[in-house]
Symmetry: C2
Subunit: 223 residues, 2 copies
């Protein structure tokens, strides 16, 4: 297994190779590859299983009843499929995780960590503490998504999202990890309505874009 990748992941950050190997055993780790579109963890599958992305990327999605998909977040290598955590009451996953491209991941049984098994594992409290940190971040991610998709108009939703991306990238020129359809699914709007609004905003000199590369313009001159 790719220890070098794992060493850089957040979950195992700061552990040496011996410790990582021990932790992997304790978590029942197994590696797998996924094709684009394949589900790493389908919604409804038993919880207590999570995954650590090694390469590729994945979308955390929620599909309702009639096939409308809603993208919750995008997962990059080194990140954990946090939503898959569960503390027991409800035994099924609330979300699906789908590969956005060919992807490698390590599957982990977090259930063992959280029950009383494995109690003598010296890494246990450290892993739990790390999971807490990760979960707090994930919480913020979800809050950001709520802030975006809760705006009243498509324009406000888009600006809310783009502003944060600009802030995160430290520049008013940046690239986003979504294509149009995915961005629409993330913001919770219709794709064509999004395209239309983007055209208008470009015409008003609020933004400039090409594919998934964006520039936020300072003023809205109707020049």
């Amino acid at each position: 297994m790719e220890l070098s990748l794992l060493k850089k992941s957040r979950l195992f950050q700061g552990m040496n190779e011996r410790e990582i190997v021990q932790a992997l055993g304790c978590l029942g780790a197994r590696e797998r590859r996924y094709d684009k579109g394949e589900f790493l963890l389908p919604a409804g599958s038993p919880a207590g299983e999570t995954g650590l992305l090694l390469s590729g990327s994945a979308l955390m999605i929620r599909e309702d009843y009639w096939g409308n998909r809603s993208i919750l977040s995008i997962i990059s290598p080194g990140e954990l499929l946090v939503e898959a955590f569960s503390n027991g009451n409800d035994r099924s996953l609330p979300v699906s995780v789908q590969a956005a491209e060919p992807t490698e991941a390590v599957l982990l049984s977090t259930g063992q960590l959280l029950t009383n098994r494995c109690d003598r594992c010296p890494l246990k409290s450290r892993l739990i503490r790390t999971m807490l940190d990760i979960l707090m971040d994930e919480n913020r991610k979800l809050l950001s998504k709520i802030e975006d998709s809760t705006q009243r108009s498509t324009r406000e939703k888009l600006m809310s999202y783009l502003s944060r991306q600009a802030l995160l990238s430290g520049s008013n020129v940046f690239t986003i990890p979504f294509n149009r359809q995915a961005l629409a699914d993330y913001l919770g709007v219709d794709r064509s309505a999004l395209s239309r609004e983007m055209s208008h905003m470009a015409r008003e000199n609020l933004i400039a874009y090409e594919r998934n590369h964006f520039t936020l313009l300072k003023d809205g001159d109707t020049a």
Copy 2:
């Protein structure tokens, strides 16, 4: 301090009084009362502080720029203001917590737990483990809100919310903790538009309601 209330709270569940007192000291606990509308934790205040509700109720809200409020969730006695957790990078709270009625709470400094201070406290790992559990639940709450507010139409948003409430209450007749304006803010829609849609749905025999008391009707007979 009301140990009886604290004993029933999730954070201190299963601890005896001596342990709770010790934990309270470790967390720098202090009690406070709030009037309706007062902020327990205003957005932007330093993180590392959280609160445990003793009585009353509070709304976790996010207010944007132009005063539009978005309700993230409602907090009941015994619950923790989870969003106030933070792991350091960003030092300010992403949300506000506002009393919905006269409310009592215990403020706690979780920062001490998460840094290396207090390491010899025997309750530390237990508290962290509990916080992990609570945070996982909070995560699900946020996912539920996302599921509701990400629906395309007001009707779908409302049905998504009401269906879950019916499921949670175990009956198709139930009471929700929001008034109209709060429900609109939770779903991310205009209040009057929500009222209008509710009228239509009642006329189509999909739902019946009076104030915040609802009944989900099985079929949509246009009888």
